[in-house]
C-alpha cells in the first residue's frame, strides 16, 4: 500500500511541474497554430540557466527563477522576431522542420559550450532534505517546493491571461486573428508576446526541474514529447486543460511504480521480469497516441 501512495504523491508532484512545462507550448499553439519542436530545448536552456546562476552566485537554486524567466522571455522574443515570423508564411511541414532545425541549433550550442557530461545540483537549502508524512510517503523537500512554485507560476500566468487587458488581447488573437486585428489589437506584437511568455514559463519550469534532475544537452527530447502529450490531453490551446493534463501525465509517468505495487501486492511473479523502469517514457508516447484517437480535441480543447 505504501508503494501505491508514494507513487501517487510523486506523480502528482511531478505532474504540477509538467503542467508548467506544457503551458508555454499550449499558449504558443493557441495563439498561432505552430508546434514548437524546440520546446524541450527551451527547457534545457532554463535548466542550464538555473544551474549556472546558482553555481556562479551561490544563490539557492530555487531563487534563480527571475533570471531564468528573463532569459526565457528574451529567448522566446528573439526566436520569434528572428525566425518564427518568417516560418509562419510557409506550409505546415516547413514549420515542423524549421523548429526542428532550431532544436538542433540550441542543443548543439549547449553541447559546444557546456560539454556533454551530466550536471546536477549538489548544494542548496533544500537539496537532500526530506520529511516523512506517514503512510510511507517521504516527501523530498525540493520536489515539494518545486511543485508549489510551479503552481504559483501557473496561477500567475492564468491571472495574466484572464484578468488583464494584455491577456484578453492574447485570447482574442487566439480565437480570431482577423477579428482581433479589426478591433485594433496588434496581432504581430501579440505573437511575439506569446513566444515571450511561452519561453519564460518553460525556462522557469527548467530552473525548477534542475533541482532534482540532472541536465545534459540531450535532455530536451523527452520533455518535448511529454509537453506534446500534456497539451494533447488538455486540448491544444487550453490553459486550465494543461494543468489537469499535467497531473494525469505525471501519474502516467509513475506507471512503473504502480506496476511494482501490483506485482508486490498481488504477488504476481512474471510481472517482476518485465523491465518496466526502462519503459518509463513509452507510456507517454502510447498515451499520446490513444488520447489523439479517442478525442483529438483533448479535455478542454477548442481548436480542431
Amino acid at each position: 500500500m505504501d508503494l501505491l501512495f508514494a507513487s501517487i504523491v510523486s506523480g502528482v508532484l511531478i505532474g504540477m511541474v509538467l503542467a508548467l512545462v506544457a503551458l508555454g507550448l499550449t499558449i504558443i499553439f493557441g495563439v498561432m497554430d505552430i508546434v514548437n519542436f524546440a520546446h524541450g530545448e527551451f527547457l534545457m536552456v532554463g535548466m542550464y540557466t538555473g544551474l549556472l546562476t546558482a553555481q556562479a552566485t551561490g544563490m539557492d537554486p530555487l531563487f534563480t527563477l527571475p533570471v531564468a524567466a528573463a532569459v526565457g522571455f528574451a529567448l522566446g522574443i528573439i526566436c520569434y522576431a528572428g525566425f518564427i515570423k518568417f516560418l509562419l508564411r510557409g506550409p505546415m511541414i516547413s514549420q515542423l522542420l524549421g523548429t526542428f532545425g532550431l532544436m538542433l541549433v540550441l542543443r548543439n550550442l549547449a553541447l559546444l559550450f557546456f560539454g556533454s557530461e551530466d550536471r546536477a545540483l549538489h548544494h542548496g537549502l533544500l537539496v537532500g532534505k526530506s520529511f516523512d508524512v506517514g503512510m510511507g510517503i517521504i516527501l523530498s523537500a525540493t520536489k515539494l517546493a518545486t511543485a508549489v512554485l510551479a503552481v504559483l507560476s501557473f496561477g500567475a500566468v492564468w491571472l495574466l491571461m484572464n484578468r488583464t487587458r494584455i491577456g484578453k488581447a492574447l485570447t482574442a488573437t487566439a480565437l480570431n486573428r482577423q477579428g482581433a486585428r479589426y478591433m485594433g489589437i496588434p496581432t504581430e506584437r501579440m505573437n511575439m508576446l506569446a513566444w515571450g511568455i511561452g519561453g519564460a514559463t518553460v525556462t522557469i519550469a527548467g530552473a525548477l526541474i534542475v533541482n532534482f534532475w540532472s541536465v545534459t544537452p540531450y535532455v530536451g527530447l523527452i520533455f518535448t514529447m511529454i509537453a506534446f502529450t500534456v497539451v494533447a490531453l488538455g486540448g491544444f490551446g487550453s490553459v486550465p486543460g494543461a494543468f489537469f493534463a499535467g497531473l494525469v501525465v505525471g501519474l502516467i509517468m509513475e506507471i512503473p511504480g504502480f506496476w511494482d505495487f501490483i506485482q508486490l501486492f498481488f504477488g504476481i511473479d512474471w510481472m517482476a521480469d518485465v523491465p518496466m523502469i526502462s519503459l518509463k517514457y513509452t507510456w507517454i508516447y502510447v498515451s499520446y497516441f490513444v488520447i489523439m484517437l479517442i478525442s483529438p480535441r483533448g479535455l478542454f480543447g477548442w481548436k480542431q
Binding site: G90, I93, S94, L97, G98, V105, R107, N108, M225, L293
Partner: protein, 335 residues
Amino acid sequence: MEAIRNTLDFSDFPKTDLGVALAVLVFLFCFPLFPHSAFAMATMIQFFIFSLYGMGWNTIGGYGGQVDLGKAQYVGIGAYTTMVCLLRWDIPFWVSMPVGACLSICWSFIIGYPLFKLKGHYFAIATIATSLVLKDLFEVWKFVGAARGLGILPYKYHPPDYWRLIFKEDIYYYYIIFAFFIVGLLYMNWFRKSRLGYQLRSIKDNEEVARSLGINVHWAKIKTYAIATAFVSIVGSFHAVYIKNIEPEDTMSLDISILIALMAMLGGAGSLWGPVIGAGVLIPLKSYLKEWLGASAGLLGIDLIIYGLIIMIISAFEPRGLWGIVEKYRRRRRK
C-alpha cells in the same frame, strides 16, 4: 505493357532536366572507377540510401501531403528482420528483405488505420510517438539484442557472398544500391502518373473535394503509406548488411525520421527529383561538415549547428525546396 511504357516514359520533363539527370547517372555509374577515398565512397552509399528513403517518404509526404515523421521505425523493422534472420537462422538477404518488407507493411496497416484519422500536426506527432514506442520496445527486447543491438562478424562468412550480401570492399555495395536506386527512380516515375498518384495529389489539394469525387481518401492514404513503408524497409535491410552493426539508437531514432523527411523537403517535396537533390546536397554536407569541423577541429556539435541553421534558413525562406527555386527561375524566364 502500358505499365512498362509508363515507367520508362520521362517525356513530360523538359530536355535540359533529362540531360542533367543522364549526366548525373553516368557520373554515379563511373564514380567508383575513378580514384576516390574510402570516406567519399561511404558518403556516396549514404547518399543512395537516403535518397531512396526520401523517395519512399515522398510518396506519402510529398504527393500526399501527410507529414510523416516516423519513418525510422520501418528502417528498424527492415534492418532487424534481416539481421535476426541472418544471425539466428542463416537466412540470406534476398529472402529476408521481402520478409522484412511484409512485416513492415503489416505493421503499417495496423498503425496506419488509426493514424490516418488524424490530420496535420496531430498526425505528425502521432507518427513520432509510434516510432519512439517501437524504439523503446526494441531497446528492452532481449531477442534482438536490446540496447546493444546486433552485429555481423564478417570473418564467419566467405566474402564475396552474393546471397547474404557480405563483401569486403564497398564497391559491391555501391553497385547493388545503385541498382536499387535506378529501380526506385523508375518506380517513382510510374507512381506519379498512376491512378493512386493522381488521387493523392487531389487529396493534398483538397480532401473534401477528393472525397466528393468518389476517392476513398482513408484507404488511398493507407495504401500509399504501405508503399512508402516498403521502400524504407527494403533499404533498411540493405543498411543492416552494409553497416553490419545495428542498434535501436542509430536505426530508429527521431533524428533519422526527421532526416528522411528533410531529404525530400529540402530537395522539393512532391517532385520526382526532389529527394535525390535533397540527399545529394545534405548527405555530403553533413558528413564533410562532421569530418572537417566536428572530428578534426575538435569542436563538438558545431557541424550540427551549421546543419540546423541551414534547415532553418531553407524552411523559413524557401519552403518548396531547391526544386522550388529552379521552378521559380524557369517561370520568370518564360515571362
